[in-house]
């Protein structure tokens, strides 16, 4: 099985991470923010798989971590959407700037 170089894969993952981060900081809609977080998690997954493949090809630890992250991301999405629905019920909005009561 032929292997391409590692760098392009890392570039993809870095790009994905910063796109996620950009989305998290700029969007006000909570659903979009949630999606941005998913992007960041996935970039991390790519990193895990790639490093596992290139550095320790005989082990599966990196893959296991990816699987865990996917599971947790699913759970997190469920919780986050529940929060968003409750927020909508109380504020009639899912804009984060409308939910700033919890401050000093």
């Amino acid at each position: 099985m032929s292997q391409g170089p590692l760098i392009p894969i890392l570039l993809v993952s870095t790009g994905l991470f910063f796109i996620g981060m950009y989305g998290l900081f700029t969007r006000r809609n909570m659903i979009t923010m949630l999606m941005a977080i998913e992007l960041m998690l996935n970039s991390v997954n790519i990193n895990f798989v790639a490093f596992n493949k290139y550095l320790f090809p005989e082990k599966l630890n990196g893959l296991f971590f990816s699987l865990f992250i996917i599971t947790i991301a699913a759970a997190e999405a469920a919780v986050a959407i529940a929060i968003i629905i409750n927020l909508y019920r109380s504020h009639q909005s899912i804009d984060v700037d409308d939910a700033t009561e919890m401050k000093y």
Binding site: L24, T100, K103
Partner: protein
Amino acid sequence: MSNYAYVLWIPLLPLLTFVVLGIFGRKYFKTSAGIIGTASLLAAAILSFNTAYHYFLVDGKVNGVFQKIIALQYTWLSFSPGVSVDMGIVIDPISVMMLMVVTSVSLMVHLFSLGYMKGEERFATYYAFLSLFTFSMLGLILSVNIFQVYIFWELVGASSFLLIGYYFSKPSAVAAAKKAFIVTRFADLGFLMGILILGFYGGTLDIGLLIQKLTSNTSPEFINITSASFLGASMLTWGLTLVFMGGAGKSAMFPLHIWLPDAMEGPTPVSALIHAATMVVAGVYLVARLFPIFSMDPTSLTIVTYVGAFSAFLAAVIACTQTDIKRVLAYSTMSQIGYMMFALGISKQGGEEGLGYMASMFHLFTHAFFKSLLFLGAGAVIHMVHSNEMKDMGGLRKLMPITHLSFLIACLAIAGIPPFAGFFSKEEILMAAFHSNKIIYGVALFTAAMTSFYMFRLYFSIFWSKEAAHHDHHHGEGTWSMKLPLVILSICAVGVGMIPFSSFVTSDGVALETHTDLMFSLAPVSLTIIAISLAAYLYKTQNQKPDQLATAWGGIYKAAYKKFYIDEVYLFITKKIIFPFIGQPIAWVDKNIVDGFVQSSATVTAKISSSIKGLQSGKIQSYTLYFFGGIIALSLLFIYIWK
């Protein structure tokens, strides 16, 4: 030897009464509180007399020596091996004697108060306080451990404070209560230091062990405490003198006596119980309790002697000029306690030389009865005329025959006319003084004459002098509950002198042979009779002679009337010296440095928090920004700087 564990119930019964009346009294026992308190004390008194009977007459004596029995002992707080605060009960001649005195006088006072305090708003509270006092006093006299003494000592002080300030709506009563508490607290500071010194060198706080260790010339503890010295006196002297300072505070010895006359602001039965018969003799009792140690140190005994003799003399002089009948009695108490003190001071441990010790305890015993009788009589008089001043009285002998007779008996007893109780005890004291120190004997003799003079001045002013001005005696002489204690105490004041006291209470537990020498009694008794005649000449009928005499003596009379300005000296020292030069600088330090530190730390925290609280904006994305910023900063730190 029988089991004395039941003695525990003697202090516990009043404690129980205090708890019940203190918690439920105002609600459920508003009128029956007096009966409950009296009944519980009656039970305690019966137990005490039972104890006394068993101890003195049945089995206290082994081979002719009264034994010290530790009936109960329980380690309460253990500091280090050997040094512990124990709670327990000691049965020995003086504690059993005090048990009888305290319970019987307290019983009489409880009974008298039934009539005297009737209709008071805080009747149940009054009985609760009386019970608390009785409990504390009984705990004090039964103490096995010097720290236990100290604990009950403070409790006694606290209950005395509560009872003096019973009429708390009267400013003078509040001031008197505070004065009594502060003065005795100040003295107790000395007591505590004394306890610590004795405990440190003796290696124990147990009174029995302490006496054992500090009375043998060869024990290492004794050698240590006598060889260590501070400001030219050995630590033994310091320890004992400081303990005596505590005793002097409670027993109102010069110069710590200033609280006693003011303490008369309390209800009169309270004065009879606390400030005449029981609490004020706690100092004498304390010295007696530690007497074997005192007897090892002549210096501190000399201090005890001279303080006692001077107080006796000073108080007698002041008593001659006072016009408030309770104050006359207060100074007379101080004077009689002075007698007990110097009798201890001139005594030695054991044998014939221990006559002073026995005389002191004897006088304590008889004095408790006739002085409480005097106070209760004064209480009945005050109840009748609603005034403490002599000028409002006079001619009461026909209106109050029982009070008159009992007061006369008490006056004869305190003056030392045979065969009344005071004669016997005073005789022993004078005898002891005669054999050890002629100066003290002279002072004591002169004081005895003055005692009878001012007592009969009081007697004639109340019951003779002018015709009775008050005819509005709406409640007559008082109820039977007020008359009965007077009668019982009168019988005691006549009878207790006949008790062969020296065969029961002596410094070493061995019976002492005493004999009344008629030739010796001649001097004090004739002086007393002269003094009584003088009082009768001056005060039996209303006339100008006392005023003329007062003018003739001018300065001395005025000084004595003003109590030799001792109160003013104290006020000057506290207000003009201690407050501005010690109190205010300390207050400044407290306000600006101690408080300032705390407050400035609070101010700084508040300032910082208000300047950075904007960070908590409630905007979730700025939090995320800080979070990522933090991660980046940490990554940089760990990658490039902290490799």
